[in-house]
């Protein structure tokens, strides 16, 4: 099957990450007997591919499941269902030993540089930890590699024996990035890597991530709630709402012509740093709050807040399908044209 699929895949790019029907439920136990009474459906059936060398932006509001999705893809959680292939290897259900051997290819940069760096370890020890765990290099080789990584992320070698608290937020994030790069990964999940940083430092870190991508041919899943930064860094963008991807499109298409009502509302809610634009802005202001992922509404997850909700939306969950080449949307509004159901790649599996 894979051979056939590869034959038809004419694009030069190879799929590095293939996520299909990923579900991540967290059980809720209540009562005296701690009975399993429900699930928090943090990620509820997410499918997408990431090409080699590409940056896929994953955006959404807090609680939409974007971070959980990123963690589940690296098997930092045990996914409830679905398949995750990284570089052709299924990782959703492999055993611990095999998974551990695959860890060097996939790494993560976390949101809070403060919380993700051990305050009792020096910078060299932090960056060197993956090396001593996985590489089997001698100590002096490890130290060479640590210096090399510090150079790559723009940290002064003289600071190798300092502790994380001696660095500013931006520098700490550089330490986190150097650690992620230590084992020459192919794929890095960046989970809100700039959210905790100041505006003037955010740009520095984003530029660094872009440089490293070019230099080492990295593939990123860039998780963020900052739509303007994602527009800058991502090649394609997936928008999540309440555990599901509602729209997935190439960057320019998504920002110029969003198709899903949620994407439209989200983009129009971003305040532009331009007072003139604000006066002319025609905003869609969503009413209400995001429903609880433990009790999502029937039908489309967005039906409780959607400005163009129809009857069907409250009954049937719209299918996530390719409505134009390369553009995937889950919305009934785009289904009325009744296009013949083509077997698309996403549906195939």
């Amino acid at each position: 099957m894979r051979g056939l699929r590869a034959m038809f895949d004419t694009s030069a790019n190879k799929k590095l990450v293939e996520v299909d029907g990923l579900k991540m439920y967290f059980p809720i136990y209540t009562g005296l007997l701690r009975r399993h009474t429900g699930n928090v459906k943090a990620v509820d059936g997410v499918s997408f591919d990431i090409m080699e060398g590409e940056t896929l932006g994953l955006v959404g509001e807090s609680g939409c499941g974007k971070s959980t999705c990123g963690r589940a893809i690296l098997r930092l959680y045990e996914p409830t269902a679905g398949s995750i292939k990284i570089d052709g290897e299924e990782i959703a259900d492999v055993g611990f030993d095999k998974l551990r051997k695959m860890r060097p290819t996939m790494q993560m940069v976390f949101q809070e540089p403060q919380a993700s760096l051990n305050p009792r370890m020096t910078v060299a020890a932090i960056i060197g930890e993956p090396l001593s765990e996985h590489s089997g290099k001698s100590r002096s080789d490890q130290l060479d590699r640590i210096y090399e990584l510090m150079d790559a992320v723009g940290l002064n070698r003289d600071f190798a024996n300092r502790y994380p608290h001696e660095f500013s937020g931006g520098q700490r994030q550089r330490i986190g990035i150097a650690r992620a790069l230590a084992l020459n990964p192919k794929f890095i999940v960046c989970d809100e890597p700039i959210a905790a940083l100041d505006v003037s430092i955010q740009a520095q870190v984003v530029n660094l991530l872009e440089d490293l991508q070019k230099q080492f041919g990295l593939t990123y899943l860039f998780i963020s709630h900052d739509l303007s930064m994602v527009r800058h860094i991502a090649d394609r963008v997936a928008v999540m709402y309440l555990g599901k991807v509602v729209e997935l499109a190439p960057r320019e298409d998504l920002y110029a012509d969003p198709l899903h009502p949620y994407t439209k509302a989200l983009l129009s809610a971003v305040p532009e740093p331009d007072p003139v634009a604000h006066d002319n802005a025609n905003r869609t202001i969503l009413q209400g709050d995001v429903p609880s992922p433990s009790n999502p509404p029937e039908g489309c997850n967005f039906c409780t807040r959607c400005p163009s909700v129809m009857d069907i939306c409250r009954k049937i969950d719209p299918e996530f399908r390719e409505v134009r080449p390369g553009r995937f949307v889950a919305c009934h509004l785009l289904n009325d044209t009744k296009m013949p159901a083509e077997p698309t790649a996403a549906v195939e599996a």
Binding site: A269, E272, P273
Partner: protein, 335 residues
């Protein structure tokens, strides 16, 4: 000093706040002067550590002293100098004539009291309303800030509200005594964009209805562009530039403001191949305030920036900047 015809409701002059620490003094606020006109919204922008919150806390004596010390300055509000007031006098101002909204509504609301109690408390204390009158006013306030089913929700506790709703409750508390000035410290930073849009819309509405003056502290230039009348940019404990919002965004005169505006990507318009960066790290406030705080990161810095700290000079109508370099002329300024 007010330069328009409007009287200022709040006039801050040469405010200087230091923190005494074991490692020496931290110059958190350094000779900050500004005024607030009746009914206007002043946006205060700056990165963390730029002194924007400490400035506002100093005004109304909310800083722990020691280690903080307000060393100099005058804060005129309704004919009295707030810095010369004693605790009782300040208490009559805080929460009554000057209202506050803080960043994180979860930590600024008391989790063990229901929201009704927290709204009613200032009404009883400051305005001396009876229980039933205060309760009626509380319902009115919750309705004003757009909380549905207000009468029933008075009995709910903060954790029963969502983030956006909690911030609405905070705004209701701040507005309870009909303040003349509202100080909002990063009120939408903890919120999602769609919820932020709701709160911004609410604030615009409330301004029209109630007409109070607002100081809005944020690091988000987008938010400032949308709601402020006038903007004050802070860096390293100082005001580096101040001007009407359109003028400041169109003609920034301080190198920091310029670069800051360039580093922020946008969701519309041209997408830059590479983001502009401001090199270097945010300033250490422990350093002496005798030179320009931005000099280490400034591409235009020259000798004088090391020797003196620039004062704010007028650069346009109602617009001033603290920089020795005239960016338009491309030469040092003669001051």
């Amino acid at each position: 000093m007010p330069d328009g015809g409007l009287p200022s409701v709040l006039d801050v002059k040469d405010l200087k706040t230091v923190f005494r620490t074991r490692r020496g003094e931290i110059h958190a606020v350094n000779n900050v002067s500004f005024h607030l006109e009746a009914g206007e919204l002043l946006g205060v922008v700056g990165e963390s550590g730029s002194g924007k919150s400490v400035t506002m806390m100093s005004l109304i004596g909310l800083l722990p002293m020691p280690p903080a010390e307000v060393r100099n300055g005058r804060v005129m509000f309704e004919g009295q100098d707030l810095l010369a007031c004693n605790e009782d006098q300040l208490r009559a101002v805080r929460g009554a004539r000057i209202g506050f909204v803080f960043q994180d509504p979860m930590t600024s609301l008391n989790p063990v009291f229901n929201v009704g109690f927290q709204i009613i408390e200032p009404l009883r204390k400051h305005m001396g309303l009876s229980k039933s009158k205060a309760r009626a006013r509380a319902v009115e306030l919750l309705e004003l800030v757009g909380i549905p089913d207000a009468a029933r929700r008075l009995g709910d506790y903060p954790h029963q509200f969502s983030g956006g709703m909690r911030q609405r409750v905070m705004i209701a508390i701040a507005l309870a005594c009909d303040p003349k000035v509202l100080i909002a410290d990063e009120p939408t930073t903890a919120l999602d964009v769609t919820i932020q849009a709701q709160i911004l819309e609410l604030v615009k509405e409330l301004r029209q209805k109630l007409g109070m003056a607002i100081v809005w502290i944020t690091h988000d230039l987008g938010v400032i562009a949308g709601i402020a009348d006038r903007v004050m940019v802070m860096y390293g404990g100082q005001v580096v530039e101040q001007g009407p919002v359109r003028e400041l965004f169109a003609n920034p005169k301080h190198p920091y403001t310029r670069m800051l505006l360039e580093t922020v990507p946008s969701v519309t318009g041209e997408r830059a191949e590479r983001l502009q960066v401001i090199d270097g790290q945010p300033p250490m406030l422990a350093q002496s305030p005798d030179s320009c705080p931005f000099r280490a990161r400034c591409p235009l810095a020259f000798e004088r920036c090391e020797q003196e700290n620039p004062k704010r000079v007028p650069v346009g109508p109602g617009h001033d900047a603290a920089c020795f370099w005239d960016v338009d002329a491309g030469a040092p300024r003669d001051v």
